[in-house]
Symmetry: C2
Subunit: 458 residues, 2 copies
């Protein structure tokens, strides 16, 4: 039985089916929403009319799972209770409203995440929207299309907040982004975040930083009219979008007695086992090991959910697979600006007890003389003395950000920046300068490591 | 003293200067050509009017080295003899024609490479051009601009051959490429090469495969008129371009008694020392260790030359640096087609004694629903049983090929395809599908490794 029919759950179901046929293993998946396996990450682009129509975001429909994989997917079915002792769940059919008990032998908990909603007055008002599910996206589009909206306030300047702000701005709405931190994209270092802030403002989006929302004010008809901040600002708004990210949706698991970790996610081992016999978990609701800090972290990303679901499914199917953890790789595009990160930010490195040096390299994405060469800045953080690469961040224009994957692969393998400098990376004028920007950053970081060593010795 | 004023030599000079001031170390560099530090890889793009003017290909002029770095660069000065016992060279000043002896304490041999010229009749005729130096490029451009040329035959379908063919085709010349192999780009596997062949033909370039040039015929005025092939074809040509690649230019070093390796390049250790006291070498003229095959190979690439020169210069300057070898990473773009490789081709893997499995993944460069998503095919070769990634090749359109660097970094670190599958690579719809194409290929390759294991066990 699979609880939750998105990336993690359906990957698990598909992989288990590949290894065990319908005679050997019945698979039923309950999904409280109306859709399975869609790209939540694509929602801002659909809102912004960059992609469409909506159904293109859906990777696989319930019928496909049913007909092709013999997986019984029931949408609009919410699991309300898991009884581990009795090995059964209580499911509510959203259409009929009826509840019924369903037995299971093995279970995958893939309940995903829920948007963070700050506990401020007005947060439940009409005109306050999340952007987590396709349903959220539909409601948001309907409002934007209604003609009632001119001014949009986005609360939260992380990935999703900025992506949705770009979407509403692109569609001609006056857009303001409100964020508590001094720079947006809080998982990036402030010196990189300030680049992003400039780019956002250059686009014509209003960016209010170092300010928390304290209340959402409504009119007599109950609709939002403005957002109040701790600093006393009043930001007029016909529509408020919550772009504060998500937290793991673990209420069901928690009530059932499935152990949660300090991060708030479900604790799993490398094979995605929860520790409760026959119960697996995958996707946004689980915690993962960060390979650099050793910390348990929750990272809500479709790519992890797919991998974790695959691992759970292979193991349920009798195979052997493990999920080896994360290193915090992420990428986004805001208008023409590409930003990416991997490993530890400076703040995370400090919190993990690392001492480090940093270095920047400003370069171009192609040979400087080649048409389309765009600026790229690579920042690297390396451990003092060992020179081990701890983190990298990239800001740039076209063709900049995907280079983060080289840094991610280097970090994964615990390379030093000196070793990175030796890497045999591809070179041709349409693709990079003769020293790839990643190599230039590694060279600078290696210089910084050596200088630090010399200073410590002298 | 530096012999050869391009990437390898001038990187060495600059790095040595950074560590040892002009009072401590005099640096003189002799370059037989008229330019220093230019991008040879950029020449086809300059010929094709993609980049220009010519001087944009020059990274640093002799004056800059002289004025800013106190490096005495003498262009149009050819070193004709190295006398290791007497620690002096004989230099010929191209302007005056005079020869003179110059002493040295330490030397960097950075004589680069020379184009391969098959020993066939007519190879020295007017109208037969190389594309190795900026001077070659100038001569070729002058001919193309003369109005005398309509039909171009390019001998050799490797990187440089295809790049120059695209350039002449782009400028409206009827272009034919002749290659001895059944598919172009011989360092790629034939199944990838056949993709390239189709793309070349689709562009309107004539591609004659499995045919060697046997003679270049000339008219009464001495100019070329056609190329004869072993199969009896006659390819009409007003201009012939040699795109057969290069071999190390080691005549000078060889006569001086500096040891050469079986690959034909100068033997160096990891610090770029030739084994002759005080004599270093860097760039296209040296051989490197291939980290996968263990073989000594010569790879003429600006990126290696820069790194090797840097290493030599640091060591000469009293520091410590090493060049860790190569794994055969390369990338090129032919019209809209991007192709890249790293590690061993199937042929190379066999020659090195590896048994292996292969797998393909066809995917898109962005989320399938995202505008601009372009096709990408990733091929991976993994060692039987161990699953170690041995090689990867990528063919695709926009934003495809640079992903080879992830494979290169994985190979560098001796990862298995199963480990690659676990990598935390960046994901967002504008940058990749939720499973990056590299991960899909790794998944397929891992399946192939497991299937092979099962078959061997069963």
């Amino acid at each position: 039985m699979v609880v939750g029919g998105d990336a993690g759950g359906m990957s698990a179901a598909s992989q288990a089916r590949r290894r065990r046929g319908p005679d050997d293993l019945q698979i039923v998946a309950f999904e409280r929403g109306s859709y399975t396996s869609y790209s939540a990450c694509g929602i801002p682009y659909w809102i912004g009319d960059v992609v469409g129509p909506r159904d293109r975001l859906i990777a696989r429909r319930p019928e496909v799972f049913r007909d092709r994989f013999n997986i019984d997917v029931r949408v609009r079915h919410e699991v309300e209770e898991i009884d581990l002792a009795a090995r059964r769940v209580v499911v509510r059919d959203g259409a009929s409203g009826q509840r019924r008990a369903e037995p299971f032998d093995a279970m995958v908990v893939a309940t995903g995440s829920v948007p963070v909603r700050p506990p401020i007055p007005g947060i439940e008002a009409a005109g306050v929207h999340g952007v987590q599910t396709l349903g959220d996206g539909e409601a948001l589009r309907a409002e934007l299309d209604s003609g009632r909206v001119r001014r949009v306030v986005v609360i939260g300047g992380g990935y999703i907040g900025l992506e949705i702000a770009e979407a509403t701005h692109r569609r001609g709405f006056e857009t303001t982004v409100l964020d508590m931190s001094p720079t947006p994209l809080g998982t990036f270092d402030p010196d990189v975040g300030s680049f992003v802030a400039d780019a956002i403002r250059d686009m014509g989006i209003d960016l209010v930083l170092s300010e928390a929302a304290t209340a959402i004010e409504t009119l007599a008809d109950g609709r939002v009219c403005c957002v109040h901040t701790a600093g006393g600002r009043e930001l007029p708004a016909d529509l408020v979008i919550l772009g504060l990210g998500v937290r793991p949706d673990v209420a069901l698991a928690h009530h059932a007695g499935i152990p949660l970790g300090s991060s708030g996610g479900i604790v799993v081992d490398r094979r995605m086992r929860t520790g409760v016999e026959g119960v697996w978990a995958a996707g946004d609701c689980v915690e993962s090991i960060h390979r650099l800090s050793g910390a348990r972290v929750v990272v809500a990303l479709g790519t992890h959910a797919n991998k974790q679901g695959r691992v759970a499914g292979i193991n349920i199917g009798g195979g052997y697979a493990t999920f080896p953890g994360v290193i915090g790789t992420a990428v986004t595009k805001i208008c023409d600006l590409e930003v990416a990160r991997t490993g530890l930010s400076e703040k995370e490195a400090r919190a993990s007890g690392y001492e480090y040096v940093t270095a920047f390299a400003d370069s171009t994405t192609r040979a400087g003389y080649f048409p389309g060469a765009a600026p790229i800045r690579v920042k690297m953080t390396a451990e003092r003395r060992s020179g081990r690469l701890l983190g990298a961040q990239i800001v740039g224009r076209e063709d900049a950000a995907k280079r983060i994957d080289v840094c991610a692969t280097a970090i994964w393998n615990e390379m030093t920046v000196e070793e990175v400098l030796g890497l045999d990376l591809s070179y041709a004028p349409p693709f990079s300068p003769v020293w790839d920007p990643v190599l230039v950053a590694a060279r600078r970081a290696d210089d910084a490591v050596q200088d630090d060593l010399a200073a410590a010795a002298g």
